[in-house]
C-alpha cells in the first residue's frame, strides 16, 4: 500500500468519525425531543394536584466552600430564599485560607455548637461545628482542606434530612429550583439522584443572592459558554434520561437520596471530576447489583453559575474537566460492556469514551491532518472542503438545535435581541472558540493520561457577581 492510499484511508476515517459523532449527537437530540414533552406535560400549570407539603421530604442543602469570603454570605442568602417547606443549610468551610468562616460568623451570628457529629464517611478532621443564632437552619462545619468531594462528604455526614442537595458556593438558585428538582425523588420511589440545568450567570442582574434579571453576557468568552451550556445540558444530559443513563449531575446543583449516597461511599476526594465520578459509580453499583434505580435530570430547575471571563481561568477549568472525565471513566471502567450494564454500560459509557474523552484528540488531529494534507497537496480540495463543511455545519447544527430545545422548553432568554445574539453565537463559536476549547481539553487528556499532578487553580469571580452578591 503506498502512502497516498494510507492518507486516503486516514482521511476517510476522520470523515467517518465526524459523521458518527454527528449521528450520535443528533440521536441524543432526538431522545431529548422524546423526553421533553414528558417533562413539559408534568409542568402543565395547575392541572396536576400539587404535592402536599407534608410529603415534600426535608432537604439538607450542603454547600462546600473554599476561599469564598467575597461571595459566601450572598450564596447562603440565595439558598435561604428557596421556596421549600423545610430545609437546612450546611456550609462546609474546607480549610479556607481567607475570611470565609469570619464572613459567615459575622453575617449569620454563628456560635460553636456541640454537635454529635456522625462519621458515616471518612473525611479530613472536623475542627468545629457552628450554628447560626439568627437562622436556626444554618450550620457551618469547619474542617481541614480535603477538596470539594471531601467537604461534601463532611456535609453529608452532618445532614439530618433524607435528601441532600449539593450546591456550589458560587451559584444562584432560582426560588423554585429545589421544589422542582426534588419532584422525581417524591414521585418515583427508585429515583436516587436528580439534577437540573446550570446556566451562566454573567450578564444577569443578581442582588444579595437574588437573581433579578436574566440577560446575556457582553464578553465573548462567557457568551460562548452560554451556548455551550445549552448544548451540554439540553441534549448532552436530557437525551440520556429516557435510557436512565444520565452521565453526570452537575456538582453545582444536584439532589441525592442520602441513603444511596452513603451506601455508595459518597464522593471520592482523589479526583477532579467528583460529580461525574459519583454518578458513574451509582450507575455501576446499582446496575451490577441489579437494583432498580433511576437518575433523573430536569430541564426546568435552573441553577446559575459564574462562567470564567479570562482565557487563563477558562483553560484551567476545561483542563480540569477533561482530566476529571478521564479519571471518572477509569474508576468505573467495570461498567463498560458489562452484561448487566444496560444502556449506561453499552451506550453511554462507550459514547463518553469515544466522543467526549477521545474527541479532542481525534477532532484536533482531524483538523490538523486535513489542513496539512490540503496545504501540501496530499488531500484533494473536494475531501478537504467536505470535511470542513461537515465539521463546522455539524457544530452549528448542534448549537442551533440546543437553542431550539431551549426555546420550546424554558424560553429563558425571552428578549428577541437575546435570541438573535445566541443564534449568531451558535455560528461564530465554531470558528476558533470550539477548536481552542478542544486544544485545552487535549491538554487535560494528556495530563490525565500521563498522571500529571492535579491542580485546582484559582477561580476569578466575575465583577458583577462579587459586587452584587
Amino acid at each position: 500500500m503506498n502512502w497516498h492510499a494510507v492518507i486516503d484511508v486516514a482521511a476517510w476515517l476522520f470523515l467517518a468519525y465526524f459523521v458518527t459523532l454527528g449521528a450520535g449527537y443528533l440521536l441524543l437530540n432526538a431522545c431529548s425531543l422524546l423526553e421533553l414533552p414528558r417533562q413539559l406535560e408534568s409542568r402543565l400549570p395547575g392541572l396536576l394536584p400539587r404535592p402536599h407539603s407534608r410529603y415534600e421530604p426535608p432537604v439538607s442543602v450542603v454547600m462546600p466552600a473554599f476561599n469564598e469570603e467575597a461571595t459566601i454570605a450572598a450564596a447562603v442568602r440565595s439558598i435561604l430564599q428557596l421556596e421549600y417547606p423545610e430545609f437546612e443549610v450546611i456550609v462546609v468551610n474546607d480549610g479556607s485560607r481567607d475570611g470565609t468562616l469570619e464572613a459567615l460568623t459575622r453575617e449569620f451570628s454563628l456560635v460553636p455548637f456541640p454537635e454529635a457529629y456522625r462519621r458515616q464517611m471518612e473525611t479530613q478532621p472536623v475542627h468545629a461545628v457552628y450554628r447560626s443564632t439568627s437562622h436556626p437552619n444554618i450550620r457551618v462545619i469547619d474542617k481541614d482542606n480535603g477538596g470539594k468531594g471531601d467537604a461534601s462528604n463532611a456535609g453529608i455526614n452532618a445532614a439530618r434530612y433524607p435528601l441532600v442537595c449539593i450546591v456550589d458556593a458560587d451559584s444562584v438558585l432560582e426560588r423554585t429550583s429545589l421544589r422542582h428538582v426534588v419532584l422525581p425523588l417524591i414521585t418515583e420511589p427508585h429515583t436516587i439522584a436528580s439534577g437540573g440545568c446550570v446556566r451562566i450567570v454573567n450578564g444577569c442582574e443578581v442582588h444579595g443572592g437574588f437573581l433579578e434579571k436574566i440577560g446575556l453576557p457582553r464578553k465573548f468568552l462567557p457568551l460562548a459558554q452560554v451556548a455551550e451550556y445549552l448544548r451540554g445540558f439540553l441534549f448532552g444530559r436530557l437525551g440520556w434520561v429516557p435510557m436512565n443513563a444520565v452521565p453526570i449531575i452537575s456538582g453545582a446543583f444536584g439532589v441525592f437520596r442520602k441513603q444511596a449516597l452513603v451506601a455508595a461511599g459518597g464522593y471520592r476526594s482523589d479526583t477532579l471530576g467528583e460529580d461525574m465520578e459519583l454518578i458513574l459509580r451509582l450507575h455501576r453499583l446499582n446496575r451490577l447489583a441489579g437494583r432498580p434505580y433511576r437518575i433523573a435530570f430536569l430541564v426546568n430547575p435552573v441553577c446559575w453559575t459564574d462562567g470564567p471571563e479570562s482565557p487563563g481561568v477558562l483553560r484551567g477549568q476545561r483542563i480540569r474537566w477533561q482530566r476529571g472525565l478521564g479519571e471518572s471513566l477509569a474508576h468505573n471502567r467495570g461498567l463498560l460492556f458489562h452484561r448487566r450494564g444496560g444502556a449506561a454500560g453499552w451506550l453511554m459509557f462507550p459514547f463518553m469514551v469515544l466522543f467526549e474523552l477521545l474527541g479532542p484528540l481525534v477532532e484536533l488531529s482531524g483538523y490538523l491532518f486535513m489542513a496539512a494534507g490540503f496545504a501540501f497537496g496530499f488531500i484533494s480540495p473536494a475531501i478537504f472542503w467536505s470535511f470542513m463543511l461537515l465539521a463546522l455545519s455539524l457544530g452549528i447544527l448542534l448549537s442551533i438545535s440546543a437553542l431550539f430545545l431551549e426555546e420550546i422548553s424554558c424560553h429563558t432568554y425571552s428578549r428577541p435581541g437575546n435570541l438573535f445574539v445566541l443564534i449568531c453565537m451558535a455560528i461564530v463559536e465554531n470558528f476558533g472558540y470550539h477548536q481552542l476549547v478542544l486544544l485545552w481539553r487535549l491538554q487535560g487528556f494528556y495530563r490525565w493520561a500521563t498522571s500529571a499532578p492535579a491542580e485546582w487553580g484559582a477561580m476569578t469571580r466575575s465583577a458583577s457577581l462579587q459586587k452584587d452578591r
Binding site: 396536576l48 402536599h52 407534608r54
Partner: protein, 313 residues
C-alpha cells in the same frame, strides 16, 4: 403567544370580577380564545373556594365554556384533554364519572391523576373510595399528590373511606397497600382512623407497615404500641417509636428513652434525645443533670446537642 396574551388581557379581569355575583353582559367567547379561557378559568377555580366557585361556574355556563370543555375532553391532544378534564371536574359534570373511573383505573400516570382529581371534585362519595382503592397499588401516583386531592374533601368523608380501604388491603394481606394508605392519614380525621390504626399496630408484623401506623397514631391511649416497638430490631421502627413517644408520651417514658439514648443507631439516639426534651415537665436543668449522669459518651453527646438545640430555639 400574542393570542394567548390578548386572551389573558381580556378574560383575566372579567374572571376576577365574576368571582362575585354579577348580571352584566359578557363579551362572546370567541372560538380562538376558548382554549385559553378554559385554562385561565381553571386556574381561577383552583385559587378560590366556596361561593366564588359557584359564580365562576355560572360564568362558564353563560359563555358556553362547558360545551367547549367537553370538546376539549374528547380531543386527541393530551394537553387539551387534560385541561378539559380539569374544567369538567370544576363544572361537576356528573355524567362523566364512568369515563373518569376508567381513566383512573387504566390511564397513564398524569391523565389518571388529573381524572382522579376531577372525579373527587364531581362526587367525593364515589371519587374518594375509587381513588383510595387505586392509590393503594399505583406506585406511579405520588402519595403527596393524592393527599392534596383528598385534602380538598371534608376530612370526615375521607376518614371512613380510608379506614375501609385499609381494612380491605389488610384482609388481602397487601402490606404495600396498607402502608401506602396509612401514609395518607393526614388527609383524614384522626378520630375516624384511630381504630384501624390500633388494629394494624396490634396485628401487623411488617416493619414498614408498623412505622407508617406509628406515624398515624393520634391518641395517647394507644402509646403502648410505641413503647413496645422501641425495642424492635429494625432501627427505623425504633426511630418512629421514639418520635411518637416524644409527641404522645409522658414522664413514665423517661427510663425507656434514656435506654434508647445508648442505641447503636445515631438516628434512634437523636430521636430519643429529642423525645426526652419534648416530654411534659422536662426542663433544661433535668436534661443537663441527665447528660452529666450518663456514662455512655455517645448518649451524653447526643443529649448535649439536643440541649443546645433547645436553648437556641
Amino acid at each position: 403567544m400574542a393570542r394567548e396574551r390578548d386572551a389573558a388581557a381580556l378574560w383575566i379581569p372579567l374572571i376576577a370580577r365574576y368571582m362575585e355575583p354579577r348580571l352584566d353582559t359578557l363579551p362572546p367567547l370567541q372560538r380562538r380564545d376558548a382554549d385559553h379561557f378554559v385554562l385561565l378559568w381553571c386556574r381561577a377555580q383552583d385559587s378560590v373556594r366556596g361561593q366564588s366557585q359557584d359564580h365562576l361556574r355560572e360564568m362558564a355556563r353563560r359563555l358556553g365554556a362547558d360545551a367547549h370543555a367537553r370538546r376539549m375532553f374528547r380531543s386527541r391532544s393530551l394537553r387539551r384533554r387534560l385541561v378539559g378534564t380539569v374544567a369538567l371536574g370544576h363544572l361537576q359534570a356528573r355524567d362523566l364519572a364512568p369515563s373518569l373511573q376508567t381513566e383512573i383505573a387504566s390511564g397513564p400516570a398524569v391523565p389518571s391523576l388529573v381524572a382522579a382529581k376531577a372525579l373527587v371534585r364531581i362526587d367525593a362519595s364515589i371519587g374518594v373510595p375509587c381513588v383510595l382503592s387505586i392509590a393503594a397499588h399505583r406506585e406511579d401516583w405520588p402519595l403527596a399528590s393524592v393527599a392534596t386531592m383528598l385534602k380538598e374533601c371534608a376530612s370526615e368523608s375521607v376518614g371512613p373511606a380510608l379506614s375501609s380501604a385499609i381494612r380491605i388491603a389488610m384482609s388481602r394481606g397487601d402490606d404495600v397497600g396498607v402502608e401506602r394508605l396509612l401514609r395518607l392519614h393526614i388527609a383524614a380525621d384522626a378520630h375516624a382512623m384511630r381504630v384501624v390504626v390500633r388494629d394494624v399496630l396490634a396485628t401487623s408484623t411488617n416493619a414498614e407497615v408498623l412505622a407508617a401506623a406509628l406515624a398515624a397514631l393520634s391518641h395517647a391511649g394507644d402509646i403502648a404500641h410505641a413503647r413496645r416497638l422501641l425495642g424492635h430490631p429494625e432501627w427505623f421502627l425504633r426511630v418512629a417509636a421514639a418520635r411518637e413517644l416524644g409527641r404522645l408520651g409522658d414522664e413514665s417514658d423517661v427510663a425507656r428513652l434514656s435506654t434508647a439514648l445508648c442505641d447503636s443507631s445515631w438516628w434512634v439516639r437523636y430521636r430519643a434525645a429529642q423525645a426526652l426534651s419534648q416530654l411534659p415537665d422536662m426542663d433544661v436543668a433535668q436534661l443537663s443533670e441527665m447528660a452529666a449522669r450518663l456514662t455512655d459518651r455517645y448518649a451524653a453527646d447526643m443529649l448535649r446537642q439536643i440541649l443546645a438545640e433547645r436553648c437556641m430555639r
